[in-house]
Structure formats: C-alpha cells, structure tokens
Symmetry: none
C-alpha cells in the first residue's frame, strides 16, 4: 500500500526544485534545500536525479513540453491569426501569474546559465517541443496571408523577447498595472509588427 509512487516522488522534486530555482536562482539553491522542501533525505534525492545539472535539464524539457502543448492547442483551434496571438499572450501571462516558476525558470535559469545546459541542451535541443509549435504558428500565419514572410527567428525573437521582457518587468514589480491589463495592447503590438504590410 505504498502511498507515494516513484513517479509521484519525482514529480514532487520537479515541482519543488522549479520553485526554488526560479525564486532563488540555480546556484543559490542547494540540494539540501530541495530535499528538505520535498521532505526527503539528500541521499535519496540522488536516487531520482543523478546530478543537479541533470535535474536542471529535465526541468527545461518539462517546461518546454508544457508550453509546446499549450501552443499546440491554440495552433489547432479555429481562431484567426490575430486571435491566436492574443491566446498565446494570454496563456503566457496567465502562466506567469499562476505558475510563475515555469516562466521564471525559462528567463532566469535557462537563459543565463549557459554552462549548465551546454552539454545536452545545445542549440534548441531541449526546447524544441516549444519552438516547433511556434514555428507552426508562424508558418500557418504566413500561409494564410495574415503574416508577412520573414526570417523565423526575427519573428520568434519579437514574440518571445517581448513576452519575456514583460514578465521580467512584472517580476521586478515595475509594471504599474497587472499583467492582465497588458494582454490586448501587447497582442495588438505584436500583430501590427508581424502582419502583412
């Protein structure tokens, strides 16, 4: 009658470490911190993840998969391109408010600790499930005639850089209004930047 399955244990580590890493940073968070948050011994942690770096990489995959699935839903919906942009912005900002650790991990851990992800997550290897869906979104928009054709990364940089920048400002408590209130204007800015001219 095991209460807690191995899978559940692993998930609780993922959840605890995601929070700690995104709140405090990768180097500030220690394995004892994580273990004690999960309610497990340090030694036992290593039965689930063989190193701190490997945990970091698995977290990245986890988040990229999550975001990829969310965008996939939007891609497969019957919305217009302009509406899809709004939905993506909305999903991203909602996530940033409800589970800030996911977006923060992207912004603060992944984007800045190159050395951690160097081996095993080169290029976009570990975030491909997310990037792929963004590619599909753009390709669809261009095929529809809604978006003007351009280098994917230029459009990607706009979209994700913008959203990331806003969440950063939000996290710094600099924004005068709740993220919610920016959804429309930001979606419109993005649409205006990318739409067919």
């Amino acid at each position: 009658m095991a209460r807690i399955s191995k899978e559940e244990r692993k998930n609780s580590i993922i959840s605890a470490s995601l929070q700690l890493f995104s709140e405090r940073g990768f180097y500030i968070t220690t394995i004892p911190d994580i273990a004690s948050k999960v309610g497990m011994s340090v030694g036992n942690f290593y039965n689930y993840f063989t190193s701190k770096d490997i945990l970091a990489k698995e977290l990245l995959l986890y988040i990229a998969d999550y975001l990829g699935q969310e965008i996939k839903k939007i891609n497969e919906s019957n919305l217009t391109t302009e509406e899809k942009i709004y939905e993506i912005v909305s999903m991203y900002f909602n996530l940033a408010q409800k589970k800030p650790e996911m977006i923060e991990y992207f912004l603060r851990v992944y984007l800045s600790n190159r050395e951690v992800f160097k081996d095993g997550c080169e290029g976009m290897v570990c975030v491909s499930s997310f990037v792929t869906e963004m590619m599909i979104f753009f390709d669809d928009g261009v095929s529809n005639g809604d978006l003007h054709s351009q280098d994917f990364f230029s459009a990607f940089g706009l979209f994700m850089g913008y959203l990331g920048g806003m969440v950063f400002l939000f996290g710094e408590k600099i924004l005068p209004e709740p993220l919610e209130n920016y959804k429309s204007s930001i979606s419109l800015n993005i649409y205006n930047a990318l739409k067919t001219r």
Copy 2:
C-alpha cells in the same frame, strides 16, 4: 611616478570582470579569476571593490550609463522617429558584436541573478540612466504624433525584449544570418508595432 592610477586600475578590473562574468557567469567567475586576469593580487582587488556583489552592481551602472549616453545622442539628433528606431537597433546590435560582454552582462547576469542586485539595485535604480533615455525617446515619438500613446513599459518591453531576444539567439549561434542583416526588418517590426494607428 606611479604608472597606473587608481582610476585606471579600477577600469581594468571593470573590463576584466565584465568579460569573465558575461562569458562564464557570475557564480562561475571567482575573485582569483578576475585578479589574475587583471594581473593583480586577490587582496588588492578588495582595495577597489569591497565585495563581489558590489562589483556586480557597479558594472551594471557602468553599462546602463554607457547605453544611456548612446541613446541620448540619438534622442538629440534630428532624425525621424522611424530613423531613431533604426539607430537604436543598430547601436545595440553593433555593441553586441563589438563588445558582446556589455549586452551579455545585461542579459545573463543582471536579468537572472536577482539575489545579487536585490539590495541596492531594486526596481530600476541602477539602470535608470538607460531607462530614462528610452522614456525620452518614447515621449518624443508620442509628442510628434509618430507613436501611439501607451503604457511606457509595454513599449519598453517590446523594444528591449525584442533586442535582447535577438542577441540571445545570436549568442546561442542559432541565427542563420549575421545580426547585421536583421537590423532593417526588426526596426520596421518595431516601428509598425508602435506607430500611430
């Protein structure tokens, strides 16, 4: 007959640490690393900066001032708003190629190591000289009737998030073309996003 003034010594620490922090990251870089790159003893380092964190904050001020001055020049020029956008993008990308450590420091050290800048650089305190000039740019554009009026941070997030995102992709060697080639399309995207509707 001192060859090297105190000011020059300080500058050489700034220059060396900027490179090391942006290449390797804040936590990976040690004070001995910096001291040895400067050609100075560890003990003497502390005559110039009283802690590693304080060095990090001074670097941030240094970079924000530099960027602020560059944007100020553009603000004070006789260019149209659209041209100014191009000039800012151009300045930013040129810098990312010639002195990548400055932009990388912004992206990788400042944006992600909150704990380091928490005390002393809350909010925008340490980057105000840069943010102020960006505010002037937007205000001017709106006054001119070139840009539509909106929450400053929404516009700021677009501009800086976009540029930061592109430089990140560039640093990851993911961009298929040199940064140079993106200047026009990105400036146009930004202009279309912000211009009067």
Copy 3:
C-alpha cells in the same frame, strides 16, 4: 523448487566480490556494485553477509583455505624439496594467471587494508590454514636435511614476498616475459637461498 540454494548464492557473492575487490580495490567497490554483479538486491546481500568488512574477512579465509589445500597436496607428494619448491611456485603463478583475483586479493586487499582485518583477523588468524602448510613444508625440508634450519618467518618472508613481488610486477605489466618463464629461475633462487649450506 528453489533453483539456487543458499550456499550457491553465497558462493556467487564470494566470486563476484573477489573479482571486484581485487580489480578495483576494497573502498572503490560498493555493495551495490557487488549486488548488481551477482544479480541480487542490495538488501538481500545483507542476508548473506552482515557487513562489508565481514565479507572481506570471509574472502580471506576462503583464499587461505584454497592455498592451504593446494600446498597440502604438494606437501603430501613424494617429491624432493627442490621439486616441491618448483611446484609451489608453479601453483602460485598458475593461479595468478588463471584466477588472478585470488592472489591480487591477498596482495592488494589483505596486505594493505589493515583496518578492515584488524578485528577478527589479527596476526595470522585468518590465514592460518595457509601458513600452517608452509610451516609443514619448511619443517619437512629441514628434517630431510635439505633446508638449513632458520627462523620460519625469515624463510616464509622470502618465499611469499618473492612470489608476491613477482605477481605485483606482473600485474603492473612491467615484466618483460610471461610469468611462466620465471618459474625455474625463481624456484632455483629460492632453493639456493634456503638449502643446507
């Protein structure tokens, strides 16, 4: 319908641990290593040996018994003392080539990890079955008038130190020729050292 008796299980642990200890060393080899080589769980290992140290001591007894029996056969044969020396050398070198783990365990684990054998294998307690047969060999030789009378340990040190030294050099791949080729000259050296003067 148990396929594997308790005795067989124990033997397979002995065999696996002997190999691992002698190849990698006592401290490098972990109980999980041994268990996985045997194909058994870590927990179950402790049903057979109550600690790592106890396993080490049982291995020592096992090897000493084996060697003791081999020498006993030679002692009980009708060979001359000189021939017996050759047979002992030959047996030892053959073993070092066919089952190197036994000799290596003697040389590398027993001789150097005093702390492990301190309690329970003091003095010659755990190797007495082997030492006893060597004593018999010498006593017989002296009785025969073939060997000159001397302190047993001086003769024992010569014999076993010499053989151990050669096997060490062999294991280090320093010997220019196969062990085989040294049998005669070494037996002769030993005989010349010990024979009646």
Copy 4:
C-alpha cells in the same frame, strides 16, 4: 619575519600525511585529518596540494627519491657485493623501524591503491629513482662476477619482495624477534639466491 616558509609548510604536510596514510590507509585518512595534524585549515591545504591524489603521488616520489639516494650511497661505496646486500637490507630495516611510515606507505598505499596512481605513476614512472639504483646495484654485481646474470625483475622481485614481506610481518607484530636480528640471515639468503653458481 615569517616563521614558517612555504616550503616548510609543504614539508609538514608531507610528513603528517605520510604518517596518517601509512597508519590508517589512504581512504580512511581524510583531508581534515591531515590539516588538523598539520595545524592548518582545510582550505589552506589545497594551496599546497591541489588534490588528495596529487598529494599521494608526490609522497611516492618523495619516498622513491629518498630510497634511491640511500642506495646510491651504497652503490658508490667500496664494499663487496655481499656487503652491499647487507647494507641495503640494513638500511631498509633501519628505516622500517625509525620511519616506518616510509616503508609502510610503499607497501600499503602504493602497492594496493592502483586507481590512485594510475594517472601519472604508470609503470615505474614515480619510483624510477629507486628502481634505477637497484638496477645499478645488480649490473655492478653481475659485472664483478659476483652475481649470476638473470632477468633484472626476477632479482628485483626477490630482493624487494623479501624485504617488503619481512616488514609486513614485522608490522603485523608476527615476528618473534626484532627486525634487527634478521639482517644477517636475510642478507645471506639473498646473497645465496643471487650469487654466481
């Protein structure tokens, strides 16, 4: 007016670690043990030796050099080969009594922890200053016509294996008499084994 030079500090680490390693074994001895025996902080230890393994290798070189020098003196003396054998045995046994840690390190640390010396001390690399002098001893004896010509390692194994074996028995407190008393008979045994036939 520095009391303790860097060189002296290093020597005190060598001396302390040699004792601890040979008494307790390599894996049982911890860096804190060594540091506290020297009266130094753990961190400072690493200013002198960059790792525990490197310390172990430097100790080996140190001992091999010491032994090499002692044998060199004997080689360069005007003694007969038989007398030289006695001198070597005597030197070795004296050392085993006065500075047992040196011989014990050879026997217990070097001979058994292959993994520690694998990188950097392959073959005889780290003990060559000692082995070389033993080679000279044998070559001289053969040139003189005192020793019969044979594979060097066979003679070396006899000599060093024998001495090592005796010191081992001594260390185990198995020898009925002090080492001193064995010098003559052992020298004679060695001489009889190696002399011209």
